[in-house]
């Protein structure tokens, strides 16, 4: 991590026992590249296959085996770099990072040390109720994942699964630009959105496709950077926040008691919410990086980079700007809708030719709340673009009142039926025809002479009459028409 302070502006302070402290956070994100085969071999990368079923001779580091770069992984890294507004390096070099571990078959990881494929870039991060921040990206490089060690199958042996061995990862390193757990979480969320838009990483943290090493230090405002600790391999956005808060608190306690921070690698324990020491600087590995002589330097032509740029999809920030501009959305609504590519596409699908305000309210309101309640993704929503569109059409042509629409929506969630069909089958359409409503209004007035007398004293009682009429019509009468007829009949003006 670079020690350059990119901003002196203090955005966030935490109160210790004695002083106020600023937290300085930098992240190293490991994002698994979406590709059919591994970075240097033809083995499949699919998740959850039988142990050792996706292991080639290269992945197992058999004698005499050689790596061959997978062009698709290179393309994905370049795409990601462009999505992070970053400089793409025409020349990059693969290095060997040497260390021994049973799930590292070669005895080294092929990575990029001095010359990464992608250089400096930036990511804008928005918040609901405060100013956006820009997080600077230091670099992005390609590297191989290791295999998996399994320690709980036997008392005497550890087991190794090499299915992951050699899968391509992008390591995305930020500058120490983040100042709170909230900012860090928002940044990772935004980065994940960008990666998913690009289709370069699926962002599934529970499957380990996205992991973060979190560098945390604290300082008094205006001081030089403090000594940092690196929390390894945190695998959920919530845990990233917890780890930062715990670690900052731990460091502040030590410093306020007059102690010093040991530069060390730590682990986050999600069961306790605490971090604990893994190894200190003295025990740190000497990785003996050197250029991998089995691989030539990677040269990317400007044409190749241009071609990838042409294929780049619309990114969340561009889409948000377009939503504000083209649909007149508020900044907040727009950022909610673009946070997920599928949501944004859902919105645009429904919005076509319809009342935008109604569409936004239904998606960000009823739909998101229901999906949340049912723990469903928009991608597997029982409500489709077509069905929600039809529902909104039924509201717009006054077939359904807002209340009826909500009832229909609930049935749609359950049955995945189209709203028109539900309305027909259940006879739910609104009664708008004045004559039909008039009959009911007359009936209610006739049956309740005392209430009529009362109403003339207290005009607010009109609500009771509307309620009665709605009851009589099983909710199907158009409330506006009911109101109008009542007022006419009772001469309420």
């Amino acid at each position: 991590m670079s020690e350059i302070i990119t901003t002196n502006e203090v955005r966030h302070l935490v109160q210790g026992g004695i002083d106020s402290w600023e937290i300085i956070i930098g992240l190293e994100i490991h994002a698994q590249v979406v590709s059919n085969s591994k970075l240097f071999s033809g083995s499949s990368t699919s998740f959850g296959s039988n142990p050792m079923s996706q292991v080639s001779l290269v992945d197992a580091a058999m004698p005499g085996m050689l790596p061959v770069i997978n062009e698709e992984c290179v393309r994905q890294a370049v795409k990601t770099g462009l999505g992070l507004q970053a400089k793409i390096n025409n020349t990059s070099v693969f290095d060997r990072k040497n260390y021994f571990y049973p799930d590292l078959p070669q005895g080294y990881q092929i990575s990029q040390f001095k010359y990464p494929i992608v250089g400096e870039g930036e990511v804008a991060v928005d918040f609901k109720d405060k100013e956006s921040i820009v997080v600077n990206i230091e670099r992005l490089h390609l590297e191989q994942d290791a295999g998996k060690s399994i320690h709980d199958l036997s008392q005497d042996y550890s087991y190794i699964d090499l299915n992951r061995s050699g899968v391509a990862l992008m390591e995305i390193v930020t500058k120490p630009d983040l100042r709170s757990a909230e900012e860090a979480k928002a940044f990772v969320t935004k980065l994940r959105t960008i990666l998913r838009y690009l289709g370069t990483c699926d962002g599934n943290m529970e499957q380990g496709s996205l992991r973060a090493d979190v560098n945390v230090s604290v300082r008094k405002p205006g001081d030089a950077l403090g000594i940092r600790c690196e929390i390894k391999n945190v695998n959920s956005i919530r845990f990233i926040g917890q780890a930062i808060d715990y670690e900052a608190g731990r460091q502040i306690d030590i410093l306020e008691e007059g102690g010093i921070i040991n530069q060390e690698t730590r682990l986050f324990d999600s069961a306790t919410g605490k971090t604990r020491a893994m190894r200190s600087k003295e025990e740190a590995h000497d990785y003996r990086y050197f250029p991998d002589p089995d691989l030539l330097p990677l040269y990317l032509s400007d044409d190749f980079i241009k071609q990838v740029a042409i294929e780049l999809p619309e990114l969340p920030d561009q889409k948000k700007a377009r939503f504000i501009n083209d649909y007149g959305l508020t900044s907040y609504d727009a950022s909610i809708l673009v946070a997920d590519r599928v949501s944004s596409e859902f919105f645009e699908g429904v919005a076509k030719g319809r009342d935008i305000k109604l569409v936004v309210n239904w998606i960000t309101g009823e739909l998101f709340a229901s999906l949340n309640r049912l723990s469903l993704d928009i991608a597997n929503s029982p409500i489709t673009i077509e069905s929600l569109g039809q529902l909104i059409d039924l509201i717009s042509d006054k077939t359904l009142s807002g209340r009826l629409a909500k009832d229909v929506f609930e049935i749609m969630l359950d049955t995945k039926e189209m709203p028109k069909k539900i309305v027909e089958e259940k006879g739910l359409s609104q009664i708008t025809d004045m004559a039909s409503i008039e009959v009911v209004v007359d009936k209610v007035i006739l049956e309740n002479p005392d209430k009529v007398a009362e109403l003339l004293e207290k005009p607010k009682l009109i609500g009771w009459f509307v309620g009665q009429i709605m009851k009589e019509t099983a909710g199907k009468a158009n409330p506006a028409n009911v109101n109008k007829i009542l007022r006419d009949k009772l001469k309420l003006g």
Binding site: L57, A60, A61, M62, P63, G64, M65, L66, P67, V68, I69, R96, N98, F100, P102, P105, Q106, G107, Y108, I160, D286, R288, Y289, F290, P293, D294, L295, L296
Partner: protein
Amino acid sequence: MIDIKNLNLKQIRDGLQNKSFKAIELTETYLNEIDKAKALNAFITVTPDKAISMAKESDNRISKNESRNLEGIPLSIKDLYCTKNVRTTAGSKILKNFIPTYESTITNNLWSDGCVMLGKLNNDEFAMGSSNETSYFGPSINPWKRKNDDMPLVPGGSSGGSAVAVSGSLSAATTATDTGGSIRQPASFTGTVGMKATYGRCSRWGVVAFASSLDQAGPITKTVVDSAIMLKSMAGYDVKDSTSIDLSVPDYETNINKNIKGKRIGIPGEYKIKGLDADIEKNWEDGISWLKSEGAEIIDISLPHTKYALPAYYIIAPAEASSNLARYDGVRYGERVHRKDLDEMYSDSRSDGFGEEVRRRILMGTYVLSAGYYDAYYLKAQKTRKLISNDFDNAFNTVDAIMTPTTPTTAFNIGKKFDDPVTMYLNDMLTVPVNMAGLPAISIPSGLDKDGLPMGLQLIGKRFGEDDLFSIGSVIEDCRGTFPNPAQWWIEK
């Protein structure tokens, strides 16, 4: 009985084609000779069943006029090449029971051309050595002896077994590998022709790696034309080796005995090193006058950085080796010393599995790549390598090939230099610069010294200038005259 002692590969090829003898007879003759030559210890593994079945297949094809280019020619393979279902040891205890499930690209090329495999040849452990004495399977012995001296001599290394098998007429030709002279030095010590191809000419896929940026394959044969025939089959672009070059392989055989009138031959002053044997220096002068007499132009040239080649080589080669050999960790294949503790398992498996010279080079390599030493050693060595390469580039502006002795001395006694690694390393002084520059070079038997031991002249060519080396080499061969076979002292009467 076929007189294989006086047959070279080309003659065997012709004999098989015009049905003077059958592949099976030939193969049985060789197997018989191998059996009688145990004292030479040239083979680690003999594969008689495989040889006989391959020979039968060849006879079958010959009888049906379906011969492939090298149909029925019995070869042996350095035990650094992985051979499918045939034990491949790299001369090491750690791989003493390793049986690959795959075939190296080069051996696959040879079998596809119809060659017959007799067995796997002895070599220095992981190709680290210049005398074949570091092999876990014991030293291979030079078929040549000094006049009136019964002391066993080294055949050179690391491809000792490959040179012995050809010199002792135990195979029509053999494969070898050359990282710093491992083909040319043993060829020179045994009166055989050793060709190291241009880096990138032959695939390294499936050949156990010593130092990836220096390793290159080539054949050892009795004659220059045999060398041309073998290299044609072995060489070629391989998508599985990212450092192999996509260039078509010429028909090298057409270069034999080509007129060399006007060819410019460089003689580098820097190769007249201290310690260059007087007979060898005289032989070099003979070589110069032979070429002159054939119309070549002799030009004195300078390769000013020659003296730095050996020290730089002994940084780069061990550095790469220390990383390449990390995969032999006892985890997936190879010998393991069982221990409860992981670090103990690693260190005991590797201490037990690797011999002293291999351990020495791993330690040297680890040291020069370590934090704080990398710039002073590895980086400096790489810069030196570039200067050495530039020297050659400059020279090739004015010459077509360079001629030098292959080694400073002829073969030495077994045990003489074994405990003095630096003296042993000096053996490679005249061969190492070629590997540093990635150039092709050939060693041709050029005479016998006062003790009756073979001497060799080295021709160094331009990148992919193998054809020039074959034409000039065949002229040297002609001028030299018939080269004797060693007395077959190893056959027990």
